[in-house]
Symmetry: C2
Subunit: 577 residues, 2 copies
Amino acid sequence: MPKILRINTKERTFRYEEPGKYAGLGGRNLTSRMVLDEVPADTHALSADNKIVAAIGLLSGTAAANSGRISLGAKSPLTGTIKESNSGGTFCQKLARLDILAMVLEDKPEADAPFCNIIITKDGVQFVDAADMVGKGTYESMDMIAGQYGKKASGMIIGPAGEACLTGASIQFSDPWGRTARAAGRGGLGAVMGSKKVKAVVLDDTGGERFTYADPEKFKAASKRWAEILRAHPVTGQGLPGFGTAILVNIINEAGAFPTKNFREGRCDHVAGISGETIAEFISKRGGKTKEGCHAGCLIQCSQNYVDEKGEYLTSGFEYETVWAFGGNALIKDIDQIAKLDRLCDDLGVDTIEIGNTVAIAMDGGVIPWGDGEAAYELVNRIRDKKDHLGKIIGNGVGFTAQAFGVTRVPTVKNQSMPAYDPRAAKGVGVTYATTTQGADHTAGYAICQNMLKVGGDVNPLGKEGQVETSKALQIATATVDSLGLCLFVAFAVLDTADAVQCICDMVSARHGIEFTPDDFGALGIATLKDEISFNTAAGFTAADDQLPAFMMKEKLNPHGVVWDFSVEELQAAKVQ
Amino acid sequence: MPKILRINTKERTFRYEEPGKYAGLGGRNLTSRMVLDEVPADTHALSADNKIVAAIGLLSGTAAANSGRISLGAKSPLTGTIKESNSGGTFCQKLARLDILAMVLEDKPEADAPFCNIIITKDGVQFVDAADMVGKGTYESMDMIAGQYGKKASGMIIGPAGEACLTGASIQFSDPWGRTARAAGRGGLGAVMGSKKVKAVVLDDTGGERFTYADPEKFKAASKRWAEILRAHPVTGQGLPGFGTAILVNIINEAGAFPTKNFREGRCDHVAGISGETIAEFISKRGGKTKEGCHAGCLIQCSQNYVDEKGEYLTSGFEYETVWAFGGNALIKDIDQIAKLDRLCDDLGVDTIEIGNTVAIAMDGGVIPWGDGEAAYELVNRIRDKKDHLGKIIGNGVGFTAQAFGVTRVPTVKNQSMPAYDPRAAKGVGVTYATTTQGADHTAGYAICQNMLKVGGDVNPLGKEGQVETSKALQIATATVDSLGLCLFVAFAVLDTADAVQCICDMVSARHGIEFTPDDFGALGIATLKDEISFNTAAGFTAADDQLPAFMMKEKLNPHGVVWDFSVEELQAAKVQ
């Protein structure tokens, strides 16, 4: 049975535990439960009392397609809430292969203690001084890791931003090619890892063994059907593989919900130059790859190998939200410039959504000119110099930068910046931003499906009707998906396919030798959200915090001339009780 | 009857209004009521929807001793709560002489609009371009005002910090000698004034008339007794006039509640060099003045004219909390250096408590060495350059600076930094820090009286017994005192003198022609607190926010080895229902 591996970062000790009361849990359900149980809600997120829990999902390590998401849990230094941030890459499957259900980073050394790397193999844990890597970007650091531990080693790693404990810091994960292009981006978890003086956790699963299935035949049948479901749906089978997530640029802009110039307009003039179609064309012409999976067994292949004009690798995991943040919200027109910014963010270890929005705030505050991609690159790159004070401001994200420069239009919920969908013109996702346990986060309940893509239903994005119910149902389903270790993009197919939930349940049942029903599927998400709400309540969050910033209730968003018009009371119905 | 003067800072228009429903209110009771009524609780504190209300107290403008405190109300950009911050100086009495009950600064111009000065005379309001004053310190600006409007003009003024909308910014007020040494320091109200592009409000009360009393003889008798009460009490009659508030340095240090090195110890080795006794000796030797009042009719005379080695004026209103913040918490030993920092803070327009604590945080984060007064001066002075990014960090106070530099021991409540009394060893004031509507604030319920000075009772500072009740009673009484326009220091005498409350009630009754009883005295404070709690609740604050930082519950404070041990539930009893 998989173990819990507890690592004390102060003492540099470790121990394996039987899962005990955590047996049978996985992914977000497990990380949120452990954070609720073990992290005092009122503690400072960078104190020794905070922990980082990294857990595999209920289906992780199996042959089920798209089951390789690693779930991270902690108290967020950005939002003050509980935080679950999950990522692709190779880490989750290797953790499973090492028979580890969850790895927990605990305690912390003194602030002036040296950084270390933590190397996990089937034989145990080693702590290795990381002095030669400190200050380096994640790409170069990962190259050094590959040099030391082989190309198949997997890294969970922070950049200079995490080392400096900046609240915009991500934790990056390596993909199958050793590129640190995958991120647990949101909520500043990189700062928590930095406070624990851990530069990287490296997994070498040599000699690890795939576990057995409780019912191999049943699993095989179900997972075969699962693959068919994903291949058959137009979004997971064609749209995402063809153009990546940036296919949304034109769609969301057309819908008038593409936040432009720090959420001043719903449409942007220059989207043609930064659309998914344009990106795919660039990549093909230059000899890159338009589809790649971030972990073994991925059928959706939404990633890519974005190459520069010379045909050399520039970035990967180049998401719609990143293209939007720099391209739409900060008005940068040059897609190569945006791709360079994406690479820079991954290398520094910062969240592209938080930092892209921060660049827009800096432009709003007169720090650099609107739309100036070169200046934006220089500005973000100041984070690399840990002594640079402007770098510290930018690296701490939207709320912090807005305060530094007196900007009052601050598109955040619980101090986390909003992603690429203006909530005034996509109200279902606005309900999610307001009410999720995570701060503004589209992935927590992606009502763009029903509001714009007509997947899983059809709800008018500009009206109020049906939005709260839609968001609530999605928040529950998402918490389940995140607990299974599945990639959220499977949801497009699941929402539109009658037997998909049963098929997932069959896989869980066959893997664990239990009877996992569609009722259990829903209950898993609800239990997870309840734990998260309990933590946030203890940390002092209330209904009044579940609301969008006041300016969105007053300023009309063009082209539809819409404002945000949900009351706190109406929004509460989106939360599980 | 006094009017309400509303000034639109965007349109540069003004109008006088009858007080209407605000007739009969004054001071904090009035400012908090107006903020509750007129400022949306969820608005950004630097948005056009915020207002600054400046109101005279119920006894202001009368001959009652120590009745010249001006009360400012607004939503705080530092805490997000409602904020009442009051100040001495000449402003209040001149506002009364101009027959203005409250002046309200409303709306705001565009961020790139020019600053103006607002000149109020008996004939109305003028808006004068302030370009020549922008960027200048409050001392030099006030000299320019005196040059233009005469030496008797009174100023309410911001420095570079307020202009830059930094949340550590104060609003400074001029004293009878035209020195901007008086401050509404806490809560960042200078940033609100800066967002409205007002550099100074100048009062010229030439031709203004003193109002009549409803019952002149009764007022005369009561105010005579009032003066006797203040003169007779050892604190108001001898301690404060003799040594100023810095007389507390030795007392609080001896009690082991003098926060040292960012709240790590309760005693400081070098207090002998920075004590009130030492300061008085220095001043006397150099030919300064050890007692001065900040407004006409002050009998307590806690202020001073602190002169440098050449006998030239350096600073005034040099408070215990300032001496402590730089001297104890930041370990600066040289009292002249601390006096220079006090002057610098007044000149830049920043709160000495917030910025003194911020210097300690910067030392904790390795930005400058512990105890280095020269480096501290240079650091704080960076606020003067509005383009300096480190200056922006420091000027935004303790919470902001701690986040920038990854410091996790953050002594704040609701993001406002704690003053000069460690709550672990002075638990009554800890209850106040936690539960007041204002964020950590000693003046909101100064239980040091009962905990250490044995004024108004005797409650063991290290125990829990009696603290909640003591703090609650003080919070109510303080809200009343702040509503009357009285200096809080009268409380020492009031708490110890049987007929003091009746005497105050007689003055209020005789001034306004009403029957104001000791019951009304208590009810006034309760009503004020209820309004403030209503605002904070609407802004999203709950019981969970009414608590001290978690590190104080774990780290023992020497010499007594005490921790903070009140639960959220216990603390709620300190709040009015």
